[in-house]
Amino acid sequence: MKTTIYLDNAATTKTAQEVVDAMLPYFTESYGNPSSIYEIGQRSKEAITKARGQIAEVLGAKAEEIYFTAGGSEADNWALKAAFEAYKNKGNHIITTKIEHHAILHTCEYLEKRGAKVTYLDVDENGIVKMDDLLKAITPETILISIMFANNEIGAIQPIKEIGMIAKEHDILFHTDAVQAFGQVPIHVDEMNIDMLSSSGHKINGPKGIGFLYIRKGVKIRSFVHGGAQERKRRAGTENVPAIVGYGVAAERAARTMEERTKKEIELRDYFIGRILNEIPYVRLNGDAKRRLPNNINVSFQFIEGESLLIMLDMKGIAASSGSACTSGSLDPSHVLLAIGLPHEIAHGSLRMTISEETTKEDLDYTLDQIKEIVNRLRELSPLFED
C-alpha cells in the first residue's frame, strides 16, 4: 500500500521543500563549474563557500575543514583508509566498536587484510561503550579510534566527549561517524576533541548523494579520490553544486530547529515507547532509554520475525525497519542487537521506527493499533509461541 506514515527517518528522510528550492537554480541557471573563473562558475563557487560555512558553523569548525564527499559511506571509508595509510609508520592498531555501521566495519575488515589490527569494543546492554574497555584497548601501536556518535539502529549516543578526551590524552586520532547524530544532537568538534567526523546529507532532510568528512586542520589525511584539485586537492571530482547547496541549507535548518524539534520528538518517542511496553506482552526496548536519539524507537517482539512484521505494516501504509537480516537474504540478524546481548531469535523480531518532525501522535496511535493486531496474528502463526 502507498506509504502514508513514514517511520524510517534513520534510513533516509524526505528532502525539505526549503532545501529543494535552494537547489533548483543550480541545475538550470547557475550550473557553472565552480573551478571556472567566469561569472557562472564563480556563482557556483560562492554557493559552495556559503554551504561550507553553514555546515562548519553547526560543528564549531572552520569552513576549510569541511570536505564534501558523496555521502556517509565515502566519508567513513576515506577517514579509515587514509588514516591507516598516513599513520602506518606509527602503528597499525585501530579501535572501533561492534556496533558501527557497515561502512566502518567492512572498511576495517578490508584494512585487516592489509595488515591492520582492529579491536572491536563491546558495548553494554544499552549499547554504550565502556571507557574502561577503551582505555584497556589502547596500545602504543594505536593510531586511530573510530567510534560512532549515535547508533543507527538503537539510537544509543556514545560519551563522545570522554572518548575525545581519552584520544587526546593518548595522542591518538579520533574519528566519529556522526551520520545519525549531525543535526540531531549538539556537536562541537573542539570541545569534544574530534579530529574527523562523517556525515550524510539525506539523513537531515538534505539531498542524497552528498556527505562530508570534517578533517581537523593539521591532520595529515591524503586523498581517497584522486584527480582534479577540488576540495583543496583532497577530493577530486566536479563538485555536486546543487546537493552541496541543499546540504548547507539542511544543516542550517537542522541546527535552527533542533531544540524545538527534538523536544517534541522526545515527547512523542517516550509516549510511544511507553504505550508499546505497557500494552503489548513479550516486548523489550532496545538501546538506552535516555541516552538515545530523539527520534529512535527500537523494540523486539518475542516469537515473531521482523520481515513479516514489516510487510504487514507496509500493507497498512506504515514504513518501518527491522533488525532481521531476512530482508537481505543473509541469516544473521543485526550485529548491533547481538552486540547488546539479544538472543538471535529475539533480535529477529525487532522493529525500528524513527520519527520525524512531521510525525503526529495520531500517526503513532494508529501505528500502535496496527502493531498490536499484526503481532497477534504473527504469534498465532508462530511455532515458538505457546499461549
Binding site: 504487514m312 532481521s324 529477529h348 502463526l381 508462530s382 511455532p383
Partner: protein
C-alpha cells in the same frame, strides 16, 4: 518484491495451526537463523494425506511457501507429496526473489521431515526419502566483493 500469489498466501495463509495426534510432525530451520517451519500431517490408512497444517516463524516468503506447501500436499499420496519440491512450491507461487529461494527449500524439507516422522512412528520405509537435514543452508551464495 513478492508476486501477488505470495502476498495472498502471506496475508491469508491456508492451513495454519496444529493437528493433535498428527501422523507425522516435522520441524526444520532454526530460530537463530530467523526461520522455523513446523508441518503437521494427517495420513489415513490408504497413505493419503488427509490433512496438513503448519506453523512458521519466518519472513513473508517462509509463511507463503509453508501455506502453499500445505495446499499442495493435501489430498496427495505420500509418493506424490515427495514430488512437491521447492521448485514446485515456487512455481505455484509465481516465483520468489533470488534471496528467498532458501525459504522454499525450508518448505520442502518440512514436508520431508514430517513424512520421516510418520515413517519412523509407523516403522515403515518410504522409498526415496532420506533423513532430513536438521538445518537448511543457503543455496545461492552471493559473491562478496
Amino acid at each position: 518484491m513478492y508476486s501477488e500469489k505470495v502476498m495472498d498466501h502471506f496475508q491469508n495463509p491456508r492451513n495454519v495451526g496444529e493437528i493433535e495426534g498428527a501422523s507425522g510432525v516435522g520441524t526444520v530451520g532454526n530460530a537463530k537463523c530467523g526461520d522455523i517451519m513446523r508441518m503437521y500431517l494427517d495420513i489415513d490408512e490408504n497413505g493419503i494425506i488427509h490433512d496438513c497444517k503448519f506453523k512458521t516463524f519466518g519472513c513473508g516468503a517462509a509463511v507463503a511457501t509453508s501455506s502453499m506447501a500445505t495446499e499442495l500436499v493435501k489430498g496427495k499420496t505420500i509418493q506424490e507429496a515427495l514430488q512437491v519440491t521447492n521448485k514446485a512450491v515456487m512455481e505455484a507461487l509465481d516465483g520468489l526473489p533470488p534471496v528467498k529461494v532458501h525459504c522454499s527449500l525450508l518448505a520442502e524439507e518440512a514436508i520431508h521431515a514430517a513424512l520421516w516422522d510418520y515413517a519412523e512412528k509407523h516403522g515403515i520405509k518410504i522409498e526415496g526419502l532420506d533423513k532430513p537435514k536438521s538445518d537448511i543452508s543457503e543455496e545461492e551464495v552471493e559473491e562478496e566483493y
